[in-house]
């Protein structure tokens, strides 16, 4: 029983973390494109990262 609860919670946390991360990225204006929000790759977009 306990292993199921612990691992289940971990899976739920992983899922929620991914969703929160995606929402945060969206709010920051970073697109979830294949360049992964990496300005080094993205020659035009993702300008918010440039001043790192």
């Amino acid at each position: 029983m306990w292993p199921t609860v612990v691992v289940g919670i971990l899976v739920a946390v992983l899922f929620v973390a991914i969703i929160i991360n995606l929402i945060r990225k969206k709010k920051k204006g970073k697109s979830n494109c294949s360049c992964g929000g990496n300005c080094g790759l993205c020659s035009m977009g993702c300008k918010s990262d440039n001043k790192e």
Binding site: M1, V11, N32, C35, G40
Partner: protein
């Protein structure tokens, strides 16, 4: 106090390479003009107080395209402390044309002559000291690629910025100088002294932006116009041409004696290669053979082997069974083991399995880009595109889109004409991006024995879809008009720089892995849940005993009706994969991985009942239909109009549906399994498309 250095130069002169070398950043470098369309900032590695601004490449300060506006506005409005002007030594005269304008801005200028190794290789000689004396600016020789002289250039720029001394302006011929002096006196005398000359020259050129900015009184303008007309009459030319001519005369004078061009008239190695590669008849076959080889290596041979190993052995035999054993042994219940192994690991693994294939593809494309071949492709395709009313400029966004559609769509900003830009935005998504490559790999692997022809045909289909759309759309009133002229300087070929190639390959691949680790994992969990929950008599978990239809199956079946005429609507999985592909195109493969317990190819094969025709139709639809949400967002931003954005996305979907319908219905008919109603519909679509393609272009005649 911080110092701001602006990196300014012609397109493809090496600004971004220098920027990366000085800041330690990893901005994308491409061996074709127009890679940078927005300014980028970074701090000098050696001195955090120094800010470097990488500006888009420009030929002049007369803004014709958006990136030229970006560069000019920055220089004029923000006035950096110093301009580090990167000059391509192999094209000295043309690069110095921009230098003459930068000097007029009244901002201190340091010249960094790049690509001196090629200059020397060509046997040309530049007397740097003499040139520096004649122009009145400090000059430093650099090789941005090899990193030589770059720190010295930055040090000199900082030194010059601190001195705050602008370069001495040069004089035009008597009449022109006289008129400019009049304008300075009449219109810009109230401005800081160092800025007066640039504004006066721009007023003389009748630069619209400057005239708007200054908003001069009508009488003053009339007075100035008299001066300009006087010069124009005397020199028998228009004001802008007079200034261009004067600048080139000045450059010719200063280069006399300090620039010895031995290679004049002699063919360089690049010219010799171009004679074959851009040959009128050979260019297109060579391009097709090269793309076939790229896909043969990346998807057909080595790539197919790596995918086989990743999917069948690494995930199929090792990771998934090990995961199941581990979580069962620690006491997790069956449903949780299934969620982890099928929902998370299988979906993630199915997508991750394509990473080596993608890495090889990205590596080969990076080599082609870096050595200079891809810019030739733009030139080759311009000849073809132009016949169909499109500009070769449309190819640059397509080139960028092979990595990711989002920057590809954004690259359409380099196209000045609104209608051409809109067509490019609408069609760039047809080119298979990195995220779509696994779909091609899946179809090729599951139904065509990993044949490279599938991938090559997918790429060529993308280019054909662009051309066909271009022809059809250009004949409508909305997009009518001649294509914008396409002027692009072909860069010299050079051996690929391994740091550039590895950086680009790694970053594209890493972006793909990160996405698989986030969107794909989350989507895998949702798919697994929807596939294991039933709503028969309330929500309940499906087990072998209970049976029943899952929510996913019900939803999938509802949607799959739409895809039945396309051949992949008999089962719910392809419909679910297509819809979830809108979230991220990688998810198309992820769905089959999750639903088949890790073996995406087997799942795909079963879902399409082993039909190659249906598989091809599925691939074509998913490659051509609406892109992922991120790319749709980019379309909305670039179109800046929701109606146009919705129209663009709707067009892509309808076009994809029409092409897939024709492929499946005609294919079925030829193979003897044709459906009469389906064939009639496909014929109507084909006739309509042929009519749109070959009808008379009324708008063109009207324009003439």
């Amino acid at each position: 106090m911080s110092i701001k250095i602006a990196l300014v130069g012609n397109p493809n002169s090496g600004k971004t390479t220098l920027f990366n070398a000085l800041t330690g950043m990893n901005q994308y470098v491409g061996n074709w003009p127009g890679v940078t369309v927005e300014k980028k900032e970074g701090r000098l590695k050696k001195n955090e107080d120094v800010v470097l601004v990488d500006l888009p490449g420009i030929y002049s300060l007369s803004p014709y395209t958006l990136e030229e506006v970006v560069a000019r506005n920055f220089l004029v409005e923000e006035r950096p402390d110093v301009i580090l002007n990167i000059v391509d030594g192999t094209n000295l005269e043309r690069n110095l044309y921009l230098t003459t304008q930068l000097i007029e801005l009244g901002i201190p200028v340091v010249i960094a002559i790049n690509m001196m190794d090629i200059v020397e290789k060509n046997g040309d000689k530049i007397d740097i000291q003499e040139l520096s004396k004649r122009i009145g600016c400090k000059i430093v020789v650099i090789s941005a690629l090899k990193g030589t002289g770059v720190n010295e250039a930055a040090d000199i720029a900082v030194e010059v910025a601190n001195s705050k001394e602008p370069a001495p302006v040069y004089n035009y011929s008597g009449v022109v100088e006289h008129a400019i002096a009049h304008i300075e006196e009449a219109a810009v005398h109230h401005m800081p002294e160092e800025q007066q000359r640039w504004y006066a020259v721009k007023i003389f050129e009748r630069d619209k932006n400057v005239l708007e900015e200054l908003n001069l009184a009508k009488e003053k303008l009339e007075h100035i116009e008299k001066d300009i007309l006087l010069v124009e009459n005397k020199l028998d030319d228009d004001a802008e041409a007079i200034i261009i001519n004067e600048r080139y005369l000045y450059i010719e004078n200063i280069l006399k004696g300090c620039f010895n061009k031995k290679s004049l008239g002699r063919l360089t190695m690049s010219d010799k290669i171009d004679r074959i590669v851009t040959n009128r008849y050979l260019a297109l076959p060579i391009f097709i053979v090269i793309m076939f080889l790229v896909y043969f290596i990346s998807i057909g041979s080595i790539g197919d082997w790596t995918v086989g190993f990743m999917n069948d052995t690494l995930f199929g035999e090792w990771i998934i069974p090990a995961t199941e054993t581990f979580f069962t042994n620690i006491g997790c219940q069956g449903w949780l083991v299934s969620l982890i192994s099928e929902g998370i690991v299988s979906g993630f693994g199915a997508v991750l399995g394509f990473v080596p294939q993608l890495m090889i593809l990205f590596l080969l494309l990076s080599i082609l880009e870096d050595c200079g071949y891809m810019s030739r492709v733009a030139f080759i395709l311009d000849r073809m595109f132009r016949k169909f009313g499109l500009s070769g400029k449309s190819f640059i966004p397509m080139l960028v889109a092979t990595g990711c559609g989002v920057p590809g769509i954004m690259a359409s900003r380099t196209i000045e004409q609104d209608r051409d830009r809109k067509i490019t935005i609408m069609t760039t998504g047809f080119i298979p991006c990195g995220a779509k490559t696994p779909i091609i790999g899946l179809v090729a692997g599951a139904l065509f024995g990993g044949s490279a022809l599938v991938a090559t045909s997918a790429y060529l289909l993308g280019v054909t879809a662009v051309v066909v759309s271009g022809i059809m759309l250009k004949k409508t009133k909305l997009f009518a008009g001649d294509p914008a002229p396409f002027v692009m300087e072909l860069p010299q070929y050079h051996a690929p720089i391994y740091t550039n190639i590895l950086r680009t390959t790694w970053e594209r691949g890493w972006g793909f892995i990160k996405r698989a680790g986030s969107v794909i994992v989350a989507a895998g969990i949702i798919i697994w849940m929807l596939n294991h929950l039933s709503i028969d008599n309330g929500i309940k978990f499906i087990t072998e005993e209970t049976g029943g239809k899952s929510i996913l199956e019900i939803l999938g079946n509802a949607v799959s009706v739409i895809f039945r005429p396309l051949g992949f609507g008999d089962n719910f999985e392809p419909a679910v994969a297509t819809i979830l592909g809108l979230v991220a195109k990688e998810e198309v493969v992820g769905v089959f991985g999750t639903l088949s317990g890790g073996n995406a190819e087997m799942g795909f094969n079963l879902a399409l009942n082993g039909s190659r025709l249906a598989g091809m139709s599925f691939m074509v639809f998913n490659l051509l239909c609406a892109p992922c949400f991120a790319a749709m967002g980019a379309i909305r931003r670039e179109m800046n109009n929701w109606k146009w954005s919705a129209g663009a996305i709707a067009y892509m979907c309808v076009f994809a549906y029409a092409v897939s319908l024709m492929i499946y219905q005609f294919g079925s008919w030829f193979s003897g399994n044709g459906n009469l109603i389906g064939t009639i519909f496909a014929s109507v679509v084909a006739i309509f498309m042929l009519y749109m393609l070959f009808r008379k272009d009324k708008n063109k005649i009207g324009e003439r």
